[in-house]
Symmetry: C2
Subunit: 209 residues, 2 copies
DNA sequence: GTCTATAGAAGGATAGAC
DNA sequence: GTCTATCCTTCTATAGAC
């Protein structure tokens, strides 16, 4: 109703500065630990300007995290394009997937969604639908195509997709990264995790010679 | 130094009331959303009494979560006792493990540790060492014994343990429960997840006939 | 739209009586 | 140890000038 009155230019440099500053702060410290004062200071604007662009702290937070969830998953990036070799395709998929999951930005969004989904229930839903849920749909469909091509035998594609992602996240390198434990994951650990997941997956689902 | 001065009776009913009230509130709402006022009110004590037993909000929080982490994992509960049948043992282990992971109390501790481990780094370490890390050690050792008995072929027991737990948590039922998404997991989903994890695990690591 | 200044509420922690 | 009452800080949000 008052949308035409406030009508903040979506390209406004101040607005962009606010979003960037708020995003960095929220990701690093969570919802409760960040004050509007701190956001205004980091963004180089006054608090009044901040409230001219966003109705409340909640609204600003929802904007940040919603955008983060939507931008985070580019499913096409993960889908193996050339499908001549299933093992190579799965390995490439696993590498991109695990490295994406371990990126500091992804970890931050993951942490914050888990933390705040109790207070903002729509947050958990948006994250799942745009993240894990969407990936599972696309990956399961890919598994079905491989099965039709005679390269895999996957009785339950949804379950198999969950298992593959589950083995990547495992209880090892990803769990420690989520908890912020030092030292961070090494290249060797990442490669071993991916190779192990592919090996186990293929032993279970490859078509026997 | 002032330990003998304050010397709060560890069995004090007021102290117990505080711990119980604070635990419920922290688990349900997280660190930032809970005030000392609310804890005092819920515990039926005054704020001064609260501060007589705990030096600060941080200290009270650390006590709650530390205790929760330590009590949460009774590794012996998860270890298959009779080992005549590996598949049955793994299925029993998986059932107990997944149901434990899905318990509301476990989910609450898991959420809160992830949320606050950025601000309280020692929290993530304590949780991992007493939870996933300890379980992995014990489970990997069990896998080695099964291998020595000729029932399994597990080249990397740590990786295999991570994979089994990873498939249980998967990207499905546990992920949705962590995000608080309705509806909750059904019996059928839980059973399918466990059976699927055991089947995939055995296809990868069972000794071929 | 943007600022300075401030209102109004809530939280963490303490003083002092008992 | 426990209470009541309160201090000080910090927070969200707004009023009013430009």
């Amino acid at each position: 109703m008052s949308q035409t009155l406030t009508h903040p230019d979506i390209e406004s440099p101040k607005r962009q500065a606010i979003l960037q500053a708020a995003g960095a702060l929220f990701m690093a410290q969570g919802y409760g630990a960040v004050s509007m004062d701190a956001i205004a200071r980091a963004g180089g604007v006054s608090k009044a300007t901040l409230y001219a662009h966003f109705q409340s702290k909640d609204a600003l937070f929802a904007n940040i995290v919603g955008t983060g969830c939507r931008q985070s998953i580019q499913t096409s990036d993960f889908l193996p394009d050339a499908v001549t070799d299933v093992e190579a395709a799965l390995t490439g998929l696993g590498q991109r997937m695990l490295r994406f999951l371990l990126a500091e930005r992804t970890l931050a969004i993951h942490r914050i969604v888990i933390a705040e989904s109790v207070r903002f229930p729509e947050l958990g839903r948006a994250f799942y639908d745009n993240g894990p849920g969407m990936f599972r749909r696309v990956f399961a469909a890919w598994l079905v195509r491989q099965q039709q091509a005679g390269r895999l035998a996957v009785p339950d594609p949804d379950l198999a997709a969950d298992q593959f992602v589950g083995m990547l996240r495992g209880a090892g390198v990803f769990t420690r990264a989520t908890l912020g434990l030092a030292p961070g994951p090494t290249e060797a650990e990442i490669n071993a995790t991916v190779e192990g997941a592919v090996r186990t997956f293929l032993r279970a689902f490859a078509v026997r010679a």
